[in-house]
């Protein structure tokens, strides 16, 4: 029984979250995070599940209200986990601080 449970746990971890959860997580990211800052701040980082969890807790302490924290965490881990390749940041036009 223990071996069976272990196999199930490992399989669930390697499959990761299902597509519906990831889509919910992405919507939650826009709803919960965008009011205060743009998403580049999140998407430029590559963190472990534990580290993403700590970031969500920090933001909750600073006033973020989550309606689906679990889905958001799954989305962040699946998309911006520390095993994911880093994408280079954008470059703004010369002489302009940002494109805004």
């Amino acid at each position: 029984m223990m071996r069976f449970l272990l196999v199930v746990t490992i399989a669930a971890a390697s499959w990761g979250a299902d597509q519906a959860t990831l889509e919910k997580g992405q919507k939650e990211e826009q709803r919960a995070c965008l009011p205060c800052h743009s998403l580049r701040l999140i998407h430029s980082q590559r963190l472990s599940r534990a580290a993403w969890g700590r970031e969500l807790d920090k933001m909750a302490g600073w006033g973020t209200k989550y309606s689906d924290r679990d889905a958001l965490l799954e989305y962040l881990v699946a998309t911006y986990g520390d095993d994911k390749p880093v994408t280079p940041p954008a470059i703004s036009e010369d002489g302009r601080k940002t494109k805004q």
Binding site: Q45, A51, W62, V86, S92, T98, K99, Q100
Partner: protein, 347 residues
């Protein structure tokens, strides 16, 4: 600029803008924790002096301009410059090598302002607040520094940066704390409060603290063993050739800049063979505390192929850049020996 974030703005300077001793205002890096304040009317702006002073005051820019004006050349570096190089990765803006710049800062001494207000001898710290404020319950960006640094003649309430007053860089009034991390250089200053204790609040604790005793990579911080970051370490950055460049065989100029917090740069050594052998680079003449020095080395590769070029700075106190900077949970103070890789092609 390299855009790490656009709201609020977190912008890094690309290497191509680093060939001058003074970094142009337009190319200077920007780091913001919370949104920029609404546009400030310089005529209406006031700096409140409060706490342990006998003459509390609301100073206008005209009041600050009446005090003796001083210019200090100083390198400003984000505390997290180079965070992207730490492994395992840590949260925060993933700065590369360009969250740093050198400028000429002009304004009255903070010490003169405090003395004019009748500073009490018992005050040991100065708390500094700016016009920015956090969204939702994000903490206000509030800092304090010990009185000894506040009274240092190079610590200014700057009204100018390279002769300009750009609001994105914290003007009309920005605190200049030469040699200390960027977090200490509070922007849009609105209040100075003399007090006995250092300030609390997120940006003093646990923010911007560094382990007193180095921790294994990936280990959590021990809160009781975190210390406020003050002076910055010795460091160098190669600006040319650019990492990944391809160049035809022939003479090359290796260039870069080096700085050392409150010290001056004594020497910079460069290696073109991955650190096996080193030779001294030529240094620019300004040998100042707080400000960087430019370095150059002429080099003619003997053969085509891939080369790892490295730079290692030494300061006037004998500090030398390490091969491996100490990992820390917030990714501060990266100062590893710099390196770029280039391919030299047959003529």
């Amino acid at each position: 600029m390299i855009v790490h974030n656009d709201r609020p703005e977190d912008l890094e300077t690309p290497m191509k803008y680093f060939d001058t001793w003074v970094t142009p205002v337009d190319a200077f890096f920007v780091r913001q924790h919370i949104p920029r304040p609404a546009p400030i009317d310089p005529a209406a702006h006031r700096v409140q002096i409060s706490g342990m002073v006998s003459k509390a005051a609301q100073l206008s820019l005209a009041d600050l301009e009446k005090l003796p004006q001083h210019t200090v050349s100083a390198t400003l570096e984000c505390t997290g410059n180079g965070r992207a190089f730490y492994s395992p990765k840590v949260p925060g803006i993933q700065w590369g090598r360009g969250a740093v710049g050198n400028a000429e800062w002009t304004g009255p001494r903070l010490g003169d302002v405090l003395k004019m207000a009748g500073l009490d001898d018992g005050a040991k710290h100065v708390e500094i607040d700016g016009a920015d404020s956090g969204l939702a319950q994000t903490p206000d960006f509030l800092r304090s520094m010990p009185m000894e640094k506040a009274m240092h003649p190079a610590t200014l309430l700057a009204l100018k940066m390279n002769g300009e007053s750009p609001q994105i860089h914290g003007f009309p009034v920005r605190l200049i704390v030469p040699g200390w991390d960027g977090t200490s250089w509070v922007k849009w200053v609105t209040r100075l409060t003399a007090k006995v204790e250092m300030s609390s609040g997120f940006f003093m604790n646990p923010g911007y603290r560094y382990p007193k005793y180095a921790r294994p990579p990936g280990a959590p911080a021990i809160p009781a063993e975190l210390e406020v970051i003050e002076g910055m370490p010795v460091k160098s950055t190669l600006t040319a050739p650019e990492d990944g460049a391809k160049t035809a065989i022939g003479p090359l100029m290796i260039r870069g800049f080096a700085w050392a917090g409150e010290n001056a740069i004594e020497r910079v050594d460069v290696s073109t063979d991955g650190g096996a052998r080193w030779q001294a680079a030529e240094l620019s003449t300004q040998k100042l505390p707080f400000a960087w020095r430019l370095f150059t080395l002429k080099w003619t590769p003997a053969a085509p192929g891939y080369y790892t070029v490295m730079s290692r700075a030494t300061d006037t106190a004998g500090r030398v850049q390490p091969i491996v900077p100490a990992w820390n949970p917030s990714g501060y103070l990266w100062n590893g020996i710099d390196r770029v890789g280039i391919t030299v092609e047959k003529a």
